[in-house]
Amino acid sequence: MARLSFEEIELGDELPEVKPDVSMPRVREFCKAAGHYFSRFIDHEKAREQGLASAIVPGIMSQALLAAIIHGWGQDVTVESIDTVFRAPIPVDSHPLFRGVVTDVQPDARIAELDLTIVNDAGETRVMGTARVRFP
């Protein structure tokens, strides 16, 4: 696959939409890797006992998934910053859709700014964010 160059991107470009894996096995793998092995993330029944509708994807996993999607779009970019707002939980075993759009391009610094969103199966925004990425 051809690598995206800074010269190819334009304001308004959309990143490819991605449906990342937030199945229970993958979330457990993440929680183990991150050291956040808490029942509200890894056990639907125990999450319900805590008042949640189901187990939820950790916020830091949503953020890390967004970063991985940025790397899938601009393979050589450096993420200088990423800010995510957790508006509502993402259920484990759901099928959220991750989207991104280029909102600013700064040629002198080879910087692009992105708006990021994660929507649920009903099309409701669950997580939104911004990122600043630098191209080589």
Partner: protein
């Protein structure tokens, strides 16, 4: 509850320091779990092997809030995280995280008033280089009367 008073008293106060070791295995397992495909995050033999940008978000301090911080409410949630990457986090780094309250502010939502508390962790390596800043926005909702 006076947010202005809390802000004046607590913002900028450093209240915790914690250390974290970064290993190759930690970086690879984190990267795999979030679907990174770039070898710079997966292959320890890569010349630029490093942790993904949000890796430091996994670390938590020993205290969420300073001792004696005012009780605002029992209800709360994680409103978001912002990560600023100043340099790559690499295997072998011994990170030192300094925690402070970076901001306190109030908003009103559909569920009533909310107080946002921003817990900032600045991560430096063993050479004192600042590598990452993580701002964790916590929301506290005043208890119902």
């Amino acid at each position: 509850m006076q947010v202005a008073g809390i802000k004046k008293e607590w913002v900028g106060l450093e209240f915790d320091t914690a250390e974290f070791e970064v290993t190759e295995a930690d970086i690879v397992s984190f990267s795999r779990a979030v679907g990174e495909t770039d070898p710079r995050f997966l292959d320890p033999a890569h010349p630029d092997f490093q942790a993904p940008p949000t890796f430091s978000s996994r670390f938590v301090s020993r205290r969420v809030l300073p001792e004696a911080f005012p009780h605002i409410g029992s209800r709360g949630f994680d409103a978001g995280k912002a990560v600023t990457c100043h340099g790559p986090v690499r295997a072998g780094h011994r990170l030192v995280a300094h925690s402070k309250i970076a901001d306190v502010y109030e908003k009103t939502g559909r569920s009533g008033p909310m107080v946002f508390i921003v817990h900032r962790m600045d991560f430096t390596n063993q050479d004192g280089e600042l590598l990452s800043t993580v701002d964790w926005r916590m929301v506290r909702q005043p208890d119902l009367k």
